[in-house]
């Protein structure tokens, strides 16, 4: 099949989902009201609560939720063939992610823009709220470990990207200063920043940098992971405007440019998909597609992380309640389109089926490396970019995303440690530096504990990360469903995805548990067990809450009938 057809089908499907299904959900289920006084107006303070233009809000929501995860997930999951990954991304976006993201904004908007975590406490119960904190901590822990491993692999596989990747940090530092001191206006700075970044990307292939294979017995992979965490620790301690803010901004611009280039190249060159539609000849050790597909692709189909962004910052800036449909649902569509681009890159970016099979020789292979090399080939054929430069460009795009997420993730994890320090009266833990040290060491423990001393196996926890992310989405869906039941509205729109997610995640956890037991990886076995307990707990909470509400509704009806 031709990639153009796949692209049109996918983008068309998601767009139709936005036009029809999201309207149905917004009007009939959430009943978004244009006259509702949103928290952004009610509590407007110029700091947290600021009514914001819906396109700007969409841009910032989309770029905050899009990261390396919607690239890594599909790039691993195509091992089962492109049809399952494609279907899950498209239908997941339409029926799961869009409803979830828009719903999270709506739920938060109707509750004074409180975060989903706090809402869980109010709407579902205190027990669920503590559960929420645990799941968030696990997600952050895994995301940092996984992304550090992914970046290290990319830097080793594409030495040409080392200079632009680290150079981008200096570009961001300089841009931050220029904007902060108001030396130039933002438009000019953006253009200069993008030019500087692309100059670095073009220069990259002529100055490739590789680390020595072993320094004091530490492998190059492990050295990169240590360097990355050292960087992330410092970056997470800096004020946000120094590095994180300009970096995020450049990443956002880069994301749009990258997506346009990639889709444009597909349209021009029209490559054929070389990967099989359904891979009947999966390599040995590949787990069963159901349920693993649904946890391998989390971001891009449905991801709990979006709920945190939606209820954390987005809902505080919503100008009109009806904007939730565009910002939330279309934000999910944006992320789905990034995953779709990945699927095309990793299935159509190879010359022959044998080449593809050589990359996907066992489960967990492929990943971002396949995205970079496949995407680079499409860019070369489509827009005539030199293949080295194209590879560097895509690597930089993926690494910058993952790097910013690590920076933010470590910062959030530090806050959690500081909060715990406050709750349990551990004075030293409330300080920034020791809390960061704790966060970094827990991540390093996971990165090396999961994959051995050379840190090469960190991606082994990828499906586990997806599972935990789905559980977070499940908790958010539970909050939305509970609100809908309380309002006496149809709940199947969120209840069915919730049930599906719970069944698939618990099923996947059990399969992985057996896998870890068989290879004797007790570290991951314990981690899996922890997540499993959380999953079962969520399932029980959901059942109990819904049963209680049904009982209440029945009693209410009975009393009103008596009247």
């Amino acid at each position: 099949m031709n990639a153009i057809l796949l692209m049109l089908l996918g983008l068309g499907g998601m767009f139709l989902g936005y036009v029809f299904y999201s309207r149905f959900v917004a009007e009939k289920i959430y009943r978004l009201d244009p006259d509702f006084r949103t928290p952004a107006h009610e509590f407007e303070d110029g700091v947290d609560f600021v009514p914001t233009n819906k396109y700007v809000l969409w841009g910032h929501h989309f770029t905050s939720v899009a990261g390396a995860a919607p690239i890594i997930g599909p790039a691993i999951a195509v091992i089962w063939g492109w049809v399952p990954a494609f279907l899950w991304v498209v239908f997941g976006t339409i029926f799961f992610a869009g409803v979830h993201d828009a719903g999270a904004i709506w739920a938060s908007n109707r509750n004074r823009a409180r975060s989903i975590g706090a809402l869980t406490g109010d709407v579902v119960g205190k027990r669920s709220q503590s559960l929420f904190m645990i799941v968030i901590f696990l997600v952050l822990l895994m995301v940092n470990a996984v992304f550090a491993t992914a970046i290290a692999t990319l830097l080793i596989n594409f030495p040409s990207s080392v200079v632009p990747v680290w150079g981008a940090i200096f570009v961001a530092l300089i841009i931050g200063q220029i904007i902060f001191r108001k030396w130039l206006n933002l438009g000019t700075v953006s253009v200069l920043g993008v030019i500087a970044l692309y100059a670095l990307i073009i220069a990259g292939p002529s100055v490739p940098i590789t680390l020595p294979e072993s320094v004091f017995g530490v492998s190059d992979n492990a050295s990169w992971i240590l360097i990355l965490f050292f960087y992330a620790a410092i970056a997470s301690l800096l004020p946000v405007w120094v590095l994180l803010q300009p970096r995020d901004y450049i990443n956002g611009l880069q994301l749009f440019i990258g997506l346009i280039l990639l889709y444009g190249a597909v349209l021009i060159s029209g490559p054929e998909l070389v990967a099989p539609a359904f891979n009947t000849n999966t390599p040995e050790g590949t787990p069963s597609m159901i349920p693993l597909l649904f946890v391998t692709i989390a971001c891009g189909a449905i991801s709990g992380f979006h709920g945190l962004v939606a209820s954390g910052t987005t809902s505080k800036q919503l100008d009109k309640e009806t904007d939730a449909r565009f910002v939330g649902y279309f934000g999910a569509v944006g992320e789905g389109s990034l995953s779709l681009a990945t699927i095309i890159a990793v299935t159509a970016g190879f010359a022959t089926l044998a080449d593809w099979q050589a990359v996907y020789h066992s489960f967990g292979q492929g990943g971002v490396t396949a995205f970079v090399s496949g995407g680079a080939r499409i860019l070369q054929d489509g827009v005539g970019l030199n293949v080295d430069i194209a590879e560097t460009l895509l690597t930089v795009m993926a690494v910058l995303f993952a790097g910013t997420t690590m920076d933010t993730g470590l910062r959030l994890q530090r806050y959690i440690f500081q909060e715990w320090g406050g709750i349990y009266n551990i004075n030293w833990m409330t300080k920034a530096a020791p809390a960061t040290l704790l966060a970094v060491s827990s991540c390093l423990l996971l990165a090396f504990g999961a994959g051995g001393a050379d840190g090469s196996g960190g991606l082994a926890i990828w499906p586990l990360f997806g599972t935990t992310n789905q559980l977070l989405a499940g908790l958010t869906l539970l909050v939305i469903t509970t609100m809908l039941v309380k309002l006496n509205r149809p709940m199947y729109v969120t209840l069915l995805p919730l049930l599906f997610l719970l069944v698939m995640t618990i099923f996947a956890l059990l399969i992985q548990l057996r896998g870890f037991y068989e290879i004797g990886n007790w570290f991951l076995f314990t981690l899996d067990l922890l997540v499993l307990i959380a999953a079962v707990w969520i399932a029980l909470e959901a059942t109990a809450t819904l049963a209680r509400l049904r009982q209440q509704n029945k009693t209410l009806q009975a009393t009103s009938n008596e009247d």
Binding site: G46, V47, D48, V50, T52, N53, Y55, V56, L57, G59, H60, S64, I179, N185, L186, G187, S190, P239, V240, W241, L244, Q245, D248, Y249, G252, T313, K316, Q317
Partner: protein, 90 residues
């Protein structure tokens, strides 16, 4: 006429870019700024609390200027009324 339209478009684009740059971090930056201002407040009113202030000759002049923010400050610091006996607020 055309040039004016282009300029208007550019300034609008710049405005949107500015929003896009600032929206996600507005809260964090404002909070950091407020923290520094709170510390400065403490410095300016230090002597009233019995903390010796070597620069009081200068900070005394600032007190009336910062008076407008005084109410918000003591509320934020968790004090319902002014902490100073000789310096009432609300």
């Amino acid at each position: 006429m055309k040039i004016r339209a282009i300029l208007r478009f550019l300034s609008r684009a710049n405005q949107l870019a500015q929003d896009y740059y600032n929206a996600p971090y507005r809260a964090a930056v404002a909070r950091a700024q407020r923290e520094q201002e709170d510390l400065f407040m403490l410095y300016v009113y230090a002597e009233l609390m019995g903390i010796p202030n070597p620069a009081s000759y200068y900070t005394l002049e600032l007190q009336p200027l910062l008076l407008e923010q005084f109410h918000d400050w003591h509320l934020r610091m968790g004090m319902e009324h002014s902490p100073f006996d000789e310096f009432r607020c609300c």
